[in-house]
Amino acid sequence: MIRIEHISKRFKKLQVLDDITVEFEKGQVISLIGPNGSGKTTLIKSILGMVKPNSGKIFVNEQIIDTDPSYRKIIGYMPQIGRYPDNMKIGQLFSMLKQIRKTETSQTDEELIKKFKLEKIFEKPMRTLSGGTRQKVSAAIAFLFDPAILILDEPTAGLDPLASEILKEKIIAEKKKDKLILITSHILSDLDEITTHVMYMQEGKMQFIKDIGTLQEETGELRLGKAIARIMKGDVINSNWIDKMFEPKNDEKIY
């Protein structure tokens, strides 16, 4: 569904993406993992056409990403930090998006709006919302048009445990509908139950992409976090990052 060919992007002196070639198929749930600044968000934004790569091509459903924006109809995007017009009310935001896409309410997927109880605050302007509520709005927008491709950038960061659980259930439900889902997250335990493939990036380069079965076999670890850690052992830069991930957290006890 998404084919990326030799994408490179450079911001001034910093090489953010370095010759990345990869292909994603439908039915896959790909976890994009890597340290901060490894180019995950830039890769995602390149797919969305928000960042223009210096070289390389991206195809979505065999259609090259260039000037025609229609390919974005089948993509739902949840940004890392949702930023919205200050004066707009939540309800307006949803109705505007529907109008732009010329979609009737009957065709939209409003499950998340209901489950997050966003209808109650439809009259609130966006500027009064907390970070977590903004994330809920972002999530609801991403799923609104029942897109075939979902791109979620740090979806659970900032959500309370209840909302985070609702979102995870929703992702699993969408996964069953044979969609392509791309997730970046630093909370590896969140990805554990969802993901089918792991793509690991570092300093703009793709280190590997493996399906979860292979990863478990190669490392002998069932948990995603430990498997990744096992692979990255010996690598100084990464071990710092991995150690952070394994600092005991309160919610770890649940598992």
Partner: protein, 255 residues
């Protein structure tokens, strides 16, 4: 496109700056006509307001609006919508709100107190200058990386067009005063929309007689049908060119 502009307009109206601007223009125009017995004297004072305040407000307001709606632009660019359409909708929204402010604030008093040739010339110049400087401001905002630079660039352009350009023209006229410069001054005036607007209105007034031979030449040229066509054409060029450059730049920009 108009759908999107509607939301842009709504956002602008909510900020109340345009409403304050409308009231300011209305009060100033009305008091000018009330204070002066002779309506053409009032027109002369109003002319200066139009030539100085209008470009300034258009430039600053548009640049600030662009940066304030960056979130909105970002959100829209993840939707199936082309960059061109996003920017043109923004332009339409800003231009419509500034134009309505001018037409209500200056247009109504002028139509009430001086519904003559000069009045219509003033309205024509005002409308054109608003559109021209909104267009230029969009270019400045798209090119500059951050808000401070953008507004600084816009202010610099305003200084250039209202003050620096005229001194440059004077310098040229003085240093080449031995040569016949009438045709060249005509050309030079086309390179500054504010000058063009000023000449266009001045020639409808009796004061053009004070401008000597050049004034006579101007009157001959601008008074004729070709002159009006020329003015309209150049103004259109001043609206379209910066906007086209802005769109071209915006399409390649990383958001």
């Amino acid at each position: 496109m108009l759908k999107l502009s509607r939301y842009v307009l709504y956002d602008i109206l909510r900020s109340k700056i345009v409403i304050a601007y409308t009231i300011f223009l209305f009060v100033v125009s009305l008091s000018m006509f009330q204070m002066e017995d002779n309506s053409s004297k009032a027109m002369l004072s109003l002319l200066n307001i139009v030539l100085i305040v209008l470009p300034l407000v258009s430039l600053v307001f548009t640049t600030i609006h662009y940066y304030n709606s960056y979130e909105f632009i970002e959100l829209m660019s993840s939707q199936p919508m082309s960059r061109t359409r996003i920017l043109l909708s923004e332009y339409a929204g800003v231009a419509i709100s500034l134009l309505s402010a001018f037409i209500i604030g200056v247009g109504i008093p002028v139509l009430l107190f001086a519904p003559n040739d000069i009045g219509f010339a003033l309205l024509f110049s005002g409308v054109s200058l608003t559109l021209v400087f909104t267009s230029i401001a969009f270019y400045a905002a798209v090119v500059a990386r951050d808000k401070a630079r953008g507004i600084g660039f816009a202010l610099l352009l305003w200084f250039y067009f209202t003050l620096i350009y005229d001194s440059l023209v004077l310098l040229i006229l003085f240093s080449f005063s031995d040569y016949p410069l009438e045709k060249i001054t005509l050309l030079l005036s086309a390179l500054n929309p504010i000058d063009l607007g000023r000449i266009f209105i001045m020639l409808k007034m009796d004061v053009s007689a004070l401008m000597g031979y050049t004034g006579a030449l101007y009157k001959d040229f601008f008074g004729s049908g070709t002159g009006i066509l020329f003015t309209t054409g150049i103004m259109l060029l001043w609206i379209i060119l910066p906007l086209w450059l802005a769109v071209r730049k915006f399409r390649k920009k990383d958001l």
